[in-house]
């Protein structure tokens, strides 16, 4: 139990995919203009990460590893995740139209998101079993949501300010992103101190 909690906290704060590992920067910069959009995107990412891990873990363990085809990991994972997200979108559209309306526009964006691919591959590299993989994916998704919402809040304040001309727009956004990222480096070591 302590190990699961440690994995969860580590993936939310210490190894935050966006702010520490710099994966999924594209949606992080693209959809973080408004807090509600950032929340929608974050929840969709959590969902996709969980589903993707649930599908790729058995494929890696029972197919790729058995036939010594570990080098096919990236291509097979992309294939499976992309098809899965499409399938989930069709199912949502049919049975849960309300959820599809709120998450639907983000799902195709996430299809081959590097954060999703990164989570599934890192779960394998770290040698997690199915349960710990799922917990780690949940943590990574929550970490992404946290980063998105935090940064959307920061960004809404930055948008109000008037930076010097050369800094306005994307440059000031990147600078504020790097400061938020620096803040997350402060979490390094916290997990070993709490759970260690």
């Amino acid at each position: 139990m302590t190990k699961l909690l440690a994995i969860l906290f580590a993936s939310v704060l210490v190894n935050n995919y966006t702010l520490v590992k710099f994966l999924g920067i594209c949606p992080f910069l693209g959809v973080s203009k408004k807090v509600d959009q950032a929340t929608g995107m974050g929840i969709a990412v959590i969902f996709v990460m969980l589903v993707a891990t649930a599908a790729t873990w058995p494929i890696q363990t029972f197919l790729l590893d058995r036939f010594n085809l570990g080098y096919l990991q990236t291509i097979v994972f992309i294939l499976v995740i992309a098809a899965l997200v499409q399938f989930v979108e069709i199912v949502l559209k049919k049975y849960l139209p309300a959820l599809h309306k709120s998450l639907g526009i983000y799902l195709p964006l996430i299809t081959t998101n590097c954060a999703v691919l990164g989570v599934t591959i890192n779960n394998m590299t770290d040698g997690y079993n199915f349960l710990t993989s799922m917990v780690s994916s949940l943590g990574c998704g929550l970490g992404f949501l946290l980063a998105m919402v935090l940064f959307a809040g920061v960004r809404s304040r930055v948008e109000e300010a008037i930076p010097p001309k050369p800094f306005s727009g994307i440059p000031i956004t990147l600078i504020s992103a790097s400061i938020v990222s620096l803040a997350f480096y402060g979490f390094a070591g916290i997990v070993t101190n709490i759970f260690g």
């Binding site: 494929i59 197919l63 790729l64 036939f67 010594n68 085809l69 096919l72 291509i75 097979v76 294939l79 499976v80 098809a83 899965l84 499409q86 399938f87 069709i90 199912v91 559209k93 049919k94 049975y95 139209p97 109000e160 300010a161 008037i162």
Partner: protein
């Protein structure tokens, strides 16, 4: 040998994924309401929200689901869209009168006084919170462009610290009127008429001290109007657009130039 296994494995996984998707899209296809699509095609796609629904798609869905909803709510589409929607729904349309947004303030930086230099957050509502911005008149246009930001058609521009609306581009959705913290922008019928371009409710001398082109409430316009369309409320002239014939007598007689001819 290993290349064969690899190819077969990836091929099989791809095939399984494709099969699942094909079956899913076949059995779980969502029926699209054809009326909704037809209505959506009639709407201009400005997504301005003037109809009260979340964009054109929302309005089309609502119309297709409930035929008692009025078909003439689309301001940008106007009479043309209303007739097309009515045809798609099989009902007769009653057309809403076209309206246009108008800035009831003409006190630009040359006409009105400054009491201070505002350097805060450059939005109208922020300026309004901080003692009404830098202008000497607290009723007029603040000029930080909150209306410009919401206009879906780029019909508004800020010139000399005051908003101007291009009537040819304005679709009358009223988003700017909602965004203006001073309620300076109002919707008026899109026809030739005389309009009061001031919102100040202060008494004459105070208006004069703050702005050269404000309405001082002298009642001259009310006296000369042949149609009886002008009234004075709270030291501010008001032209009833229903009665106004657009003759322009009030415009010629206004001592400060606060009443202007609106040419649509």
């Amino acid at each position: 040998m290993s290349i064969l296994t690899a190819t077969i494995l990836v091929g099989v996984i791809g095939l399984v994924c494709a099969l699942i998707l094909v079956i899913a899209s076949h059995y779980m296809a969502v029926k699209v309401n054809e009326t909704e699509l037809a209505i959506r095609a009639c709407l201009p796609g400005a997504n301005c929200g003037a109809c009260g629904y979340s964009g054109c798609d929302g309005y089309a869905a609502a119309l297709a689901a409930d035929s008692t909803i009025a078909a003439n709510l689309c301001r940008p589409g106007g009479a043309e869209a209303a007739e097309k929607i009515a045809a798609a729904l099989g009902v007769t349309a009653s057309v809403a009168d076209p309206v246009s947004a108008y800035v009831r303030c003409s006190g630009d930086c040359n006409a009105r006084g400054q009491i201070c230099h505002y350097e805060g957050v450059q939005t109208c509502s922020a300026a309004k919170l901080l003692f009404g911005g830098g202008s000497a008149c607290t009723f007029g246009c603040l000029g930080y462009g909150s209306c410009v930001a919401v206009c879906p058609n780029n019909a508004i521009c800020i010139e000399n610290d005051i908003a101007h609306i291009d009537p040819r581009r304005c679709v009358g959705c009223g988003l700017c009127a909602k965004a203006c913290p001073n309620k300076v922008i109002t919707l008026i019928p899109a026809k030739n008429q005389s309009v009061v371009t001031c919102s100040s409710q202060l008494k004459g001398p105070k208006v004069k001290a703050a702005c050269k082109v404000g309405c001082i409430g002298c009642t001259k316009c009310a006296k000369v109007c042949p149609a009886g369309a002008v009234t004075i409320e709270n030291n501010l002239a008001r032209v009833d657009p229903e009665k106004c014939t657009g003759c322009g007598v009030c415009v010629d007689n206004c001592p400060t130039g606060a009443i202007r001819a609106y040419e649509f």
